[in-house]
């Protein structure tokens, strides 16, 4: 065996052990819910809990809406910056990195402080207090999720836009009579399929596991449920963590198969 091959394998094995050993530990632990029996009892109990389904469904709905809002907000922004305002790219990139330095707790307290009372301009109410109803609190929650997912979604979209010749494709579509709406939804977005899917996956992962925003806004999300479960039970949280990993991997495999041919298509734009 070549010396370089040996060291390559050594480092890959080490990295794999580092990543998979804790996971294996959690999986093994989750199978030992009953004394002297290896089985899926913790999984059965976790899935039998109505709260699990309720919170999991709620977080999935929030994730879905957050992804839609993120795409609608970020794709046109990143596209416009790339096309018309390339000199503003560093500013936009800085803004998208802010969620890394501003903790979620600061964000949620900011929201509560700002939106828990109606915004009034003299006798005129611009908008009512957003924390008064479940629906409006969900709006706040989604806004928070969009901010938290911003660095990931923006980077995915920006990388996707850099991989296609945005300017020329836009001009080609314009010369054929297309307006901005057609260009955005029939040319740009379909060619960002891979980028949007990876951005969506990251957003989904963030939203489903998010704890702080949902806890302080008092919404029945999966993150707070897991945290509460961990305080009272030992085996079920481990089982649900494994389920979360499996769901993420499933999504990644799905993305791989959906976007398999897209690179070849994208190169045609150049």
């Amino acid at each position: 065996m070549k010396r370089s091959t040996f060291w390559g394998l050594f480092w890959v094995t080490l990295a794999a052990l580092y990543l998979f050993l804790p996971l294996w530990g959690a999986f093994d632990f989750s199978l030992r819910a009953e004394r002297d029996v290896i089985g899926f009892a913790s999984y059965t109990r976790a899935f039998a809990d109505d709260d699990f389904w309720r919170t999991f469904t709620f977080s999935n709905q929030m994730a879905f809406v957050s992804i839609i809002v993120s795409v609608l907000l970020i794709v046109p922004t990143a596209y416009w910056v790339q096309l018309k305002l390339p000199h503003l790219r560093p500013v936009v990139e800085f803004i998208t990195l802010l969620p890394f330095v501003i903790p979620a707790i600061i964000l949620v307290f900011g929201y509560i402080k700002l939106y828990s009372s109606p915004l009034e301009l003299g006798p005129l109410t611009i908008f009512p207090a957003l924390t008064n109803t479940d629906l409006s609190t969900n709006v706040l929650l989604i806004a928070g999720y969009v901010v938290l997912a911003l660095p990931y979604m923006y980077r995915s979209v920006d990388n996707g836009l850099r991989a296609i010749d945005v300017r020329t494709l836009t001009e080609a579509a314009q010369s054929l009579g297309a307006g901005w709406f057609t260009i955005m939804f029939r040319i740009i977005m379909p060619n960002l399929r891979a980028a949007l899917l990876s951005g969506a996956l990251l957003t989904f992962a963030i939203v489903v596991g998010e704890l702080t925003l949902a806890t302080f806004l008092g919404r029945p999300a999966f993150g707070p449920y897991l945290q509460q479960l961990g305080q009272h039970k030992a085996y079920e949280p481990a089982a649900l963590s494994i389920v979360s990993f499996l769901l993420t991997w499933l999504a990644m495999i799905l993305i791989y198969f959906v976007t398999r041919g897209s690179n070849a298509q994208v190169t045609g734009a150049h």
Binding site: I164, D165, T168, L169, E171, A172, A173, Q174, S175, L176, G177, A178, G179, T182, I187, P190, N191, R193, A264, Q265, V266, T267, G268, A269, H270
Partner: protein
């Protein structure tokens, strides 16, 4: 009235001191094929982009088919455009790409499908309708781009260096195809290129551009044979440029390094003044001693002989100047040897009197 008119067009970008295009006036007739020829940064693409509506002139106006379009958005101009990078939509098949403009215009399906088939037939890619752009060669992609631009029956077809990304062989075949299709459809075409051979072979007229200005407008024959400025003379074809002293302006008498020459026409300069002249290599021949007095002679020493297969290029040093000329290869004749003194001849008409500043440092190209 001309089909396309550009009047006093000027484009000044805010971040650049020199204007990208200035004082651009051009009239193009319906069905004409006009090329903008010039080096990189001469303003040819900017002018094309102003016609397309992707840039707006700082000053001046653009009229297409009697309608002023200076401020009209690109998607309202009904102009077909072919890009250097093909710009096919990667997510659409060949047929969908070609039919895109018609679908945007909300044409009925019964009109779109036959039109797409007609275009596929025009570019000889009927069997590739279901392919994606990435599954086609560069030449095929560019033909699809051409079909897509023509499918909407544009008033004007703009081609921005469409062959630059292709290899030499495909470039030649595709340029012939572009010209044939343009003739067949009768569409008015503006073609941007930095390749003089491409411009010569395709165009009814050529606009030679330099530093944002039009240097000369004319047929390929006029541009090549009668360049009016030093820039045109040097950019189009190979050229020997020399300094000549005016001996007798009215008689066209000149002197190059002490050797007398006569131009075919009077010289617009004063006696004793130095002007720039040029000679095309193909107008120069080795003297046989039987030439008449109407021919110009120049004597010099062979500096270098280069065998190029079908032709032999010989460089002859006069004193400070060097001139090059080509002769057809003949295996029965010996090549001129280095240092050998020889005489070259050329007709009076071969002397091109160039306008603009004299090229004091330049000798031969």
């Amino acid at each position: 009235m001309a089909f396309l008119e550009l009047s006093k067009v000027r484009k000044q970008f805010s971040n650049v001191a020199a204007p990208a295009v200035q004082d651009f006036n051009l009239s193009v007739e319906r069905g004409e094929f006009v090329s903008f020829l010039g080096p990189s940064g001469c303003g040819k693409t900017t002018t094309l982009r102003m016609i397309a509506g992707f840039e707006h002139p700082t000053v001046g106006k653009i009229v297409i088919n009697g309608k002023e379009v200076t401020g009209v958005a690109a998607n309202k101009r009904k102009i077909g455009m072919v890009f250097q990078s093909y710009a096919l939509f990667p997510n659409m098949t060949v047929a969908d790409n070609i039919g895109f403009g018609l679908r945007v215009a909300k044409r009925p399906k019964a009109e779109i499908e036959p039109r797409v088939q007609e275009m596929l037939k025009l570019i000889h890619l009927e069997d590739k309708a279901k392919r994606y752009p990435a599954q086609l060669s560069g030449g095929q992609q560019q033909r699809v781009a051409l079909a897509r631009a023509l499918a909407i029956k544009p008033e004007l077809l703009l081609l921005d260096e469409p062959l630059s990304a292709l290899d030499a062989k495909i470039r030649v075949s595709l340029r012939n195809e572009i010209r044939a299709i343009q003739r067949q459809t009768g569409v008015t075409a503006i073609y941007v290129t930095h390749d003089q051979e491409e411009a010569m072979s395709l165009s009814d007229r050529i606009v030679v551009m330099s530093e944002g200005r039009m240097e000369q407008v004319g047929t390929p024959f006029e541009i090549y044979n009668f360049p009016q400025t030093q820039f045109v003379a040097s950019f189009v074809g190979t050229l020997n440029r020399m300094q000549a002293r005016v001996a007798d302006p009215s008689a066209g008498a000149l002197e190059v390094e002490g050797q007398p020459l006569t131009a075919a026409r009077a010289v617009e300069a004063n006696r004793g003044e130095t002007i720039a002249i040029a000679l095309r290599p193909e107008m120069i021949h080795l003297a046989k001693g039987t030439e008449g007095v109407e021919m110009n002679h120049l004597n010099g020493a062979v500096e270098e002989t280069t065998f190029l297969g079908s032709i032999v290029r010989t460089r002859v040093r006069l004193r400070d100047s060097v001139i090059s000329f080509d002769t057809f290869n003949n295996p029965n004749l010996a090549l001129p040897q280095r240092g050998e003194m020889l005489s070259v001849v050329f007709p009076r008409e071969a002397i091109l009197l160039l306008k603009g500043p004299s090229a004091a440092q330049e000798s031969a190209v």
